[in-house]
Structure formats: structure tokens, C-alpha cells
Subunit: 153 residues, 2 copies
């Protein structure tokens, strides 16, 4: 599992998310995150634990964590997908994975602030890259998908 | 787009489906479909058109066809994902793509019968491989996912 972290010749990009119902916005985010690392990028994705999702969003994910992780790892831009920490300790994740770049999605402002603060306070050599939104048909978010399913009832 | 079909050195596997809300059952199906073609397999996936989904299932897909296609093509086992024909003419698809193997899912009995009949009637050199079901937690189907979302509603 740790092989991605030992490959010193490449630029290690770290991305994270819940990835509950995979939509094209996820695919776009991960493709752009990988591109941010250039030619020799390796992309490691931390997938949020079920307990973290429930605590932060106030409701459980539709798909269990191991399935969410396996689907993310099946996507072409992803070299490795691992489950996050139940305590959601961002500093600990950065210490373990040692990314060169942390890629954040347009809606991950909390994570972005958290990482930027740690980078500044600890003097870490990590670049934070924000990935723009793909489009806005409303179907590039899990909540948009859920609304459409509910509407179709 | 046609490059997969011109590579004569590999075993061409054809799979098809709607792939509306990607779940681990889809990933498993596509991984096993590719394996059915051995070492040098190429996997081409025909993604059902929106009109076909609406006609066959009596309701529209949640995600539009181009997004469903792009997500399928972003999965590691898939070499190429193309949109199907609006007339859903299986014989025409087989003639265009010339697969060595057609992989069918456990719930694709109509397609399986259709392909087997054509293979028999036309004397085609196509092997039909049925891929078993991954598991049965209920979350390896789009309808299971929709039910869970409705229950959470």
C-alpha cells in the first residue's frame, strides 16, 4: 500500500474527498490534480471514512468507505486510493504521505485553509493547488444527483 | 475513436451498459470483462444512449449520455467507451466493432440471448462470456443506490 510514497523520482500529488456517487466533476478534479504534478506525477487520494462523512455532513454516505475507495482507485488518473483517518487529522496525513502538492477542489475551502495554515506555521514545502469547477449543469455534484433522483421519484 | 478496432494483435472484448450511477459492481464487471480477453485484451464499452435508456427502462437516466461515457472511459480497465446506437441494433454494433468476445453482466440476459442468437444464425466467431455478480449488499446496482438515497431522504 505504501509504494506510492517511496517513489522519490516523481511529484507526489495528494487529493482527498468523499467520492460518494462518482460524477464527471470527480473525474475532472482527479485528472486536473494529476496534471498539477507534471509529467512524472503520482496521485494519491485520501477517501473520507464513513464516520468522518457522517460527522461532517450530518448524514451517512450512500456507499460504504471501502467501495468508495475501490471505485476511486479504479479511475485512470489515480495511482493509489487510501482510506483517511477517522480523526480527520490533516497534519498527520501530510506527515505520513509527504506530498509535494495538495490539490483541493473548488468546494474544499476548509481543507484548503487548513493545509495553507499548516504549510505556513510549520514551514512545509508543499504547494497548494486549487482545481476549478468543471461546469455547472448541476450534475457534477453528489447533491445535484440526489436532487435529480428525488425529483424523478 | 476507431483505434481500438484496428489493433489486430489483441483480443477485443466488447461490453455494454447504461452506467448511470457508477458503483463497484460496474468496476468489477469491467475488470472481469477485460480479464476474459487475456493478456493482450482491449476493452471497448458501448454506453447506452439517453433515448435507449428511456425507451427500455421507461425513465430517463440521471446522468446524460456524454457524462456516463466519459466516466466509463476514465476507468482503468476500459480502453475506449463509445456511445451506442439510438436504434439499439446489436447486429450492427457487432459488425462495426468486430469483437472476439462479448462480455455480458449477470442481469443482461436480453443482450446475451440476442448476441447468442446472432452468433448462431450468422456463424460469427464471437465468444459470449457471462460475468458473475460481484456481491449482494444491494449497493452494486443503480436501483439499490436510488432506494438507499430515497430511504435517507
Amino acid at each position: 500500500m505504501m509504494k506510492a510514497f517511496e517513489d522519490k523520482g516523481s511529484t507526489l500529488v495528494l487529493a482527498s474527498g468523499v467520492f460518494d456517487l462518482v460524477h464527471y466533476g470527480h473525474v475532472y478534479f482527479l485528472q486536473e490534480a494529476k496534471k498539477a504534478g507534471g509529467e512524472n506525477a503520482r496521485l494519491v487520494v485520501v477517501v473520507a471514512r464513513d464516520k468522518t462523512v457522517e460527522r461532517l455532513k450530518g448524514r451517512p454516505s450512500v456507499l460504504p468507505e471501502e467501495q468508495r475507495r475501490a471505485i476511486v482507485e479504479a479511475l485512470k488518473p489515480v495511482d493509489e486510493a487510501i482510506l483517511g483517518r477517522e480523526d480527520f487529522n490533516v497534519e498527520e496525513i501530510l506527515r505520513e504521505i509527504k506530498p509535494d502538492i495538495v490539490a483541493v477542489g473548488h468546494d474544499q475551502t476548509d481543507i484548503e485553509e487548513n493545509v495553507r495554515r499548516l504549510v505556513s506555521e510549520r514551514g512545509l514545502r508543499i504547494r497548494v493547488v486549487r482545481i476549478g469547477r468543471f461546469a455547472s449543469t448541476g450534475l457534477e455534484s453528489s447533491s445535484g444527483i440526489k436532487r435529480k433522483i428525488a425529483d424523478q421519484g
